[in-house]
Amino acid sequence: MNNSSPADASVGATAGSPADIPDGAPSHCATTVYVPRDSAARSVGADEVAAALQRAATRGDFAVDVVRNGSRGMLWLEPMVEVATPRGRVGYGPVTPEDVDGLLAAGLLDGADHPLRLGLVDELPWLARQNRVTFARVGVIDPLSPRDYVEHGGLAGLRAALALAPADVVAEVTESGLRGRGGAGFPAGIKWKTVLECADELKFVCCNADEGDSGTFADRMVMEGDPFLLIEGMTIAAHAVGASEGYLYIRSEYPDAIATMREAIELARGQGWLGKGVLGSALDFDLHVRVGAGAYICGEETSMLESLEGKRGMVRAKPPIPAIEGLFGKPTVVNNVLTLTTVPTVLANGAKAYQDLGVGRSRGTQVFQLGGNIARGGIVETAFGITLRELIEEYGGGTHTGRPVRTVQVGGPLGAYLPDSLFDLPMDYEAFAEAGAMLGHGGIVVFDDTVDMAAQARFAMEFCAEESCGKCTPCRVGSVRGVEVIDKIVAGTHRDENLALLEDLCDLMTDGSLCAMGGLTPMPVRSALTHFSDDFHGGRRLLEIQPVNATGVRTEGTA
């Protein structure tokens, strides 16, 4: 792994307050060029582009400071290079290493014209129309520069929180209407209040960064692009509930996020943002990164706690709830990355400002993640209430393959597959629940008209069988039976009887499973049956799809 980090004079500084952070700006007149270090950008060549820029600078007579920022979330434009100019940051993308010399010759460092020039990044409509709260700094700053963090408003929330009594911090979070962004949407303030009211000496704050749902990558991007924000959010939670230790459980599939968070924690300790007497207050709080080991179920909060304790990630029966008996039996706040990274804003700007965004009981902003077969995939942070159609068509620009959109799965592998007739649904927890769907973590996966929905329903059951922790029978056995029954339906074996059996199996899994793994697996299955019943009558893929386009997908090297 080549996780290069830019030279930064403030790295390793031990000053106690941000005012003491030495100026990290270079003294010569180098032009600052930003090349993302986000792993999505790296997956399409960002490291090679950064290296080509460095090489050109070494050869040529111009001076360049390459800053490895996070990604702005316009992922179809990655690697997106930005150049700091007097008018603002000018973007170019997607840039390949082979483009670099031509870009420099065309006047890249002055923000000059070029076929890859995108214009002033802050004014790009895709970005300018959003309401970036949690993602305000992601892609803008050097993620591992404490100085950048503070200059861009970092720590304001923590300072505000430390000036308040814990109960007042909890009240502020409750007042804001912030609901857990991990999927369940439980009010964060109520969870925190429960932990605060427990009398134990030892309490924990655990951040669930086991972002295993397909179509979700916002946690990863915020950890890679603004790691101090998560540290700040967890520290505020610690002050609010009286916790002294924090654990950040990151999935092993995210090596860049793990490395970035570990480095950020070291830096934060050096700045006095973690450890004894945080920011000169009476708060003692330290934070540890723990790495998962490839188990989807550990995204379920009680499984995650078992895993943190060094055990198999088996779901616990609730009650007791983790707020009362959580990690090692102690009162524990368990929140998702996006919940905790929203908290600093709530404290910095006040509950009212956050409350004013959104619709109904879905307050504030949600970080939607556009993925799958989509032309313009990436991060869209807007207030709740935007429709799915606006996200898919206006932001997403339809499919990557250019074929019609057939369905969209919202909320991860346990979320519903929605047809076009439901695309005008507002993004709102309650509206989705009413439509038999869930907003979950805000992940949106687009499929074109080549998708076989019986195959997708079968996959939902197969995934559950593969990833079930095995503790409860409806999930462990029901999912295996689900695969068998769907196979029979598709094969046309006693179709009506087997459809009735599948219906019954879905009821049983929904009602009888211990956690959301088995309990929600029926959601994608049922939605596929309800909205795409034709696909279960066999042969769709063979009869309809192949004559249209045998491959179906345009990708590199195959077009």
């Binding site: 792993s39 179509g215 943190l308 993925g371 990557h400 990708t555 590199e556």
Partner: protein, 157 residues
């Protein structure tokens, strides 16, 4: 990566690794990750040593090693390639990558007899807007078609 068939070496590595993690709460997972990082897998001989060092039963340790997909009981190939098969990558043709690997004689979850390549499936690498995604020896690749997968498998990318 240092692998050794010698029990003494496995035991000494495990005892040293555990010593580094003893102060941590719930040290078994971090210790297993460290053992695997050093030895390339978690050999059977490590289980009783971990149990002894961490005051756990052998059954507990065995249960944890076998529960998690990441922990290998056998060494992997020199190149480990993981193909994402989660929905977002499915939507862009991840199954064609799996077919390509199969046609090349590679079976998911297995290492080639010459020990050169292990191909596995993974459910979500967090690169859902730039799929299909593949990870090879810890490096993430986006927008991978069969031709590029071929280059990755051959080590030419």
């Amino acid at each position: 990566m240092t692998t050794s068939g010698s029990d003494v070496t496995v035991e000494s590595v495990v005892r040293r690794v555990v010593a580094d993690h003893r102060g941590q709460r719930g040290a078994l997972l971090p210790a297993l990750h460290a053992v695997q990082a050093e030895l390339g897998h978690v050999p059977q001989e490590a289980v009783p040593v971990l149990a002894d060092e961490l005051n756990l039963s052998r059954a507990d340790v065995h249960g944890v090693v076998t529960f998690y997909h990441d922990f290998r009981r056998e060494p992997a190939g020199r190149t480990t390639v993981r193909i994402c098969r989660a929905e977002a990558c499915q939507a862009l043709g991840a199954d064609r990558l799996v077919s390509y690997a199969r046609e090349a004689g590679l079976t998911l979850g297995e290492t080639t007899p010459d020990g050169s390549v292990t191909v596995e499936q993974v459910f979500c690498l967090g690169n859902c807007a730039l799929g299909p995604s593949v990870e090879a020896n810890g490096r993430l690749y986006g927008r991978v078609g069969p031709a590029r997968l071929g280059s990755i498998l051959n080590g030419t990318v």
